[in-house]
């Protein structure tokens, strides 16, 4: 029974390859499509730069979401955390607090909320859905309190430069997003913490019985996600030059979509940062392309939902293959 199982080796059939590379192929097809529609505009340096600029905040928040999803959970409050962090930073600066202190406090707020999420989920054993839905609700409320329900603007020039400034003609947020995702990628890949995250996401009980401190791993994952989302929200406020209570909320669903798309990129079907970036790019390219073609932005939202469905279907098909 153990010796003659040659057919066990998965053949590289065409169908399998398509399924495997489906997400990347879809991205290339999208790019091809928009390029064919508007060859003069779509792949121009300015537009590519635009796409990168547009997705930079999403890339940061999706990195945070990836960490949580590697551990096998998800976090609905990341968008709200980013809005609150932007609002806190803006409110403090308008109150005369120096820029870097305001930014640090805002990031600290994100850290605390992430820590609270992690504590509720890992130690009090609430489901991630209930816990982060509840914190999301409260955090949105806090953001409204901080902004007094309005949009805060006239932020200091130096702060706005973080989001609007350029280096080598490329906007700063692009660099920040690249640095943050590289850091998270390295943590996931090279550190014992990253190992214990993916083990926990693979099978909590196995990880625990192997000596991994599962609860601490989950706590730290949510905490890191909180800080990183807060940074994303701060950069967003700088880019817009203003802060409102809901400006980051779209990024929550888009970040989940990006991670789901990314899960289809690799063979094991686990959340992974490289894949998430492919997902972020798909969402960015699509939104930019549809804009160029003059398609209504509400339609883009509808399409994003459909993409999540397609991605999840694709990954469940893959799992059935195994």
């Amino acid at each position: 029974m153990s010796t003659t199982n040659a057919p066990a080796k998965p053949g590289r059939s065409l169908g399998r390859t398509l399924l495997q590379g489906g997400t990347v192929i879809a991205l290339l097809a999208l790019i091809g499509f928009f390029f064919a529609m508007r060859p003069d505009v779509f792949l121009s340096f300015t537009n590519v730069k635009n796409i990168l600029f547009q997705v930079s905040i999403l890339a940061i928040i999706a990195s945070a979401q990836t960490v949580v999803m590697v551990v096998g959970d998800f976090d609905l409050s990341l968008g709200a955390i980013s809005s609150l962090a932007g609002a806190v930073a803006a409110a403090l600066m308008l109150g005369g607090v120096p820029m870097w202190i305001a930014i640090s406090v805002a990031a600290g707020v994100g850290l605390l909320i992430g820590l609270a999420n992690g504590f509720l989920i890992a130690y009090l054993r609430l489901s991630a859905f209930v816990a982060t839905l509840a914190t999301m609700t409260s955090v949105v409320g806090l953001a409204y309190l901080v902004t007094a329900g309005t949009t805060l603007f006239s932020l200091p020039e130096g702060f706005n430069n973080l989001g609007q400034g350029k280096f080598l003609n490329v906007p700063l947020p692009v660099y920040i997003a690249i640095v943050i995702s590289l850091i998270i990628w390295s943590i996931l890949r090279f550190t014992t913490l990253g190992r214990s995250w993916s083990a926990t996401g693979g099978n909590q009980e196995v990880a625990r019985l192997s000596g991994v401190n599962v609860r601490r791993a989950r706590l730290l994952a949510f905490t890191l996600a909180g800080v990183v989302s807060a940074i994303g929200g701060i950069i967003l406020a700088a880019r817009l030059g203003s802060a409102s209570a809901v400006q980051g909320s779209d990024n929550m669903m888009f970040s989940v979509a990006a991670v789901f798309l990314g899960m289809t990129v690799i063979r094991s079907g686990m959340a992974n940062l490289g894949g998430t970036m492919v997902g972020v790019t798909i969402i960015g390219v699509m939104s930019n392309g549809l804009n160029i073609l003059g398609v209504n932005s509400y339609v883009q939202q509808v399409v994003t939902g459909l993409i999540i469905i397609a991605a999840v279907t694709l990954s469940s098909l893959k799992n059935r293959e195994r």
């Binding site: 199982n5 550190t191 190992r195 083990a199 693979g202 196995v206 019985l209 094991s268």
Partner: protein, 512 residues
């Protein structure tokens, strides 16, 4: 090889027949030419070792799996069961130990569940429901209050409710998987009386069990499977236990186990007065180089004891000492590992390995301190310990990066072992070390256990199978309801003595 088909006697009508069933998963053949033919009004034992294909065959018969090839014949005509519901409608019902009843609703509702619930335009006809439920309980001679919540019943009563439901669906073929596992002797007698009654009413019963004595007491015919094939079908009266065992194993039982070693007198592990959720007042010592077997019925606290020793579960009292170092209470897995205690858990797929992860990632998991420095993991060191583990244990795989889910059960178990052995444990705890593994790999695992013991490791292994317990251990401890009920040298142990301890009857003999 004997043909499995029996000559069709006109007095026996065949209720259900499986012909030449093949089924494979991920390239591993779970069934290759399995056959089974069950007559109306008989109790038919389906026997075989773990991994022989019994449960796969049952799942094919009940529509849970679709076979790759082969036919199922019911009452003379070919049938195909697309899913469990279709098989149920055709009168084929399997009852598993755990599930079968819904604890939060009444006995009557349990019996008349789903399509059996009498209703008029969606409104439940309670009177009809109760009458129908009572009818089925009467057929079984059971006096169970209809209004009681099913969860409040004793295990045997719950089994009876599950039977009654099967009867309510007009079951013609009843498949029972280890129905006596959690029952006491008297309850087993009651159950047998009910089964005989059902048989006399013309129900065909397939009885899957590891308890051969029961088979010989209860069943009319038996079918033995090995490695996915049906080896023989026979009248129980024409067979005997020794023949059944050697047919199941495919060789004489003795050859499976290596020679015993000589345990030293150096104490490696001392357990003193340990209490847990179920276990009470457990004290014993284990020696360097000793293989200590732990037996007992399911639920006797064996697994909990191992989990406590491994730091995976809290204990409320007592001390655990490795060598001369006493662990702090409830140390947690990672401290227990550091102290030299490692656990190979019971459920390989849910507790032992991450199926989607590669062999090297799985092995690295329990060895993070060994493959990292300052919080950074070293890929080279991971590959290194993985290659060594794969070589030492002869893990058959394409390479260290193959996902564990693609390996056979035996090789998965070796990955769990490799993962823990890389920690060089002083005490290796193994919970059901050969569950769901083919005979060849079993022999390898036994040899490995012996080699480790010879190298000075202490092995503590829990097993539900008495022959395994006697074959692999030097000394055996038996647990009963959370306490140690007996201790025997394996060389002088008999199944009878062990069983008596299992049932907590230290001095009397068990009469089956």
């Amino acid at each position: 090889m004997n043909a499995a088909t029996t000559t069709v006697d006109s007095s026996h009508t065949i209720a259900l027949e499986a012909r030449d069933i093949f089924k494979h998963f991920d390239g591993v053949h779970a069934l290759s030419g399995a056959k089974l033919s069950v007559r109306k009004g008989e109790i038919h034992a389906l026997l075989g070792e773990n991994g022989a294909g019994k449960s796969t065959l049952v799942k094919v018969l009940t529509g849970l799996y679709t076979p790759d090839s082969g036919t199922i014949v019911q009452n003379g005509s070919d049938v195909e069961f697309a899913n469990v519901r279709v098989a149920n409608r055709a009168g084929i019902v399997a009852l598993y130990q755990e599930l079968s009843i819904i604890p939060s609703i009444s006995v009557a509702e349990n019996i008349m569940l789903g399509e059996q619930t009498p209703n008029r335009g969606g409104l439940v006809q309670w009177k009809t429901l109760r009458r129908g439920a009572q009818e089925q309980l009467d057929r079984l001679n059971q006096k169970i209050p209809l209004g009681e919540l099913a969860g409040e019943l004793s295990p045997v009563q719950q089994t009876m409710v599950a039977f009654a439901r099967a009867l309510a669906t007009n079951a013609q073929v009843l498949i029972l998987d280890e129905p006596t596992a959690s029952l006491t002797d008297t309850e087993i007698k009651d159950l047998f009386a009910v089964l005989r009654k059902l048989r006399d009413q013309g129900v065909a019963i397939v009885y899957v069990s590891h308890r051969l004595e029961e088979v010989f007491e209860l069943c009319d015919r038996l079918t033995i499977m090995r490695n996915g094939e049906t080896i023989i079908t026979k009248n129980v009266a024409d067979s005997n236990i020794d023949e059944v065992i050697s047919t199941m194993v495919g060789r004489a039982a003795g050859e499976l186990y290596p020679e015993r070693g000589t345990a030293t007198s150096t104490v490696a592990l001392t357990v003193e007065k340990v209490d847990g959720r179920k276990v009470k007042d457990i004290s014993f010592t284990a020696h360097k180089g000793e293989v200590l077997g732990i037996g007992g019925l399911a639920g006797s606290g064996r697994s909990e004891l191992l989990r406590i020793l491994a730091g995976a579960q809290k204990h409320t009292a007592g001390t655990i000492t490795v060598g001369d170092k006493t662990l702090r209470p409830s140390p947690g897995v990672s401290r227990a590992l550091e102290a030299g205690i490692a656990l190979v858990p019971e459920e390989r797929r849910s507790q032992g390995v991450i199926l989607s992860a590669t062999i090297q990632d799985n092995i690295a998991l329990a060895n993070i301190p060994g493959v990292s420095s300052f919080g950074l993991v070293s890929g080279a060191r991971i590959v290194d310990i993985t290659r060594r583990g794969m070589l030492d244990l002869q893990i058959k795989a394409r390479g260290p990066r193959q996902p564990v889910g693609e390996l056979s059960g035996g090789n998965q178990q070796k990955v769990v072992l490799a993962k823990m052995l890389a920690r060089k444990p002083k005490v290796l705890l193994m919970d059901e070390p050969t569950r769901g593994i083919d005979v060849g790999t079993k022999a390898e695992i036994y040899r490995l256990i012996r080699e480790l013991a010879a190298g000075g490791t202490t092995i503590i292994a829990v097993s539900s199978e008495l022959p395994e317990l006697m074959g692999m251990s030097d000394r055996i401890i038996i647990m009963h309801e959370g306490q140690i009920s007996g201790e025997v040298q394996a060389a002088t142990a008999t199944e009878e003595i062990l069983l008596a301890y299992c049932y907590g009857k230290a001095d009397s003999h068990v009469n089956n």
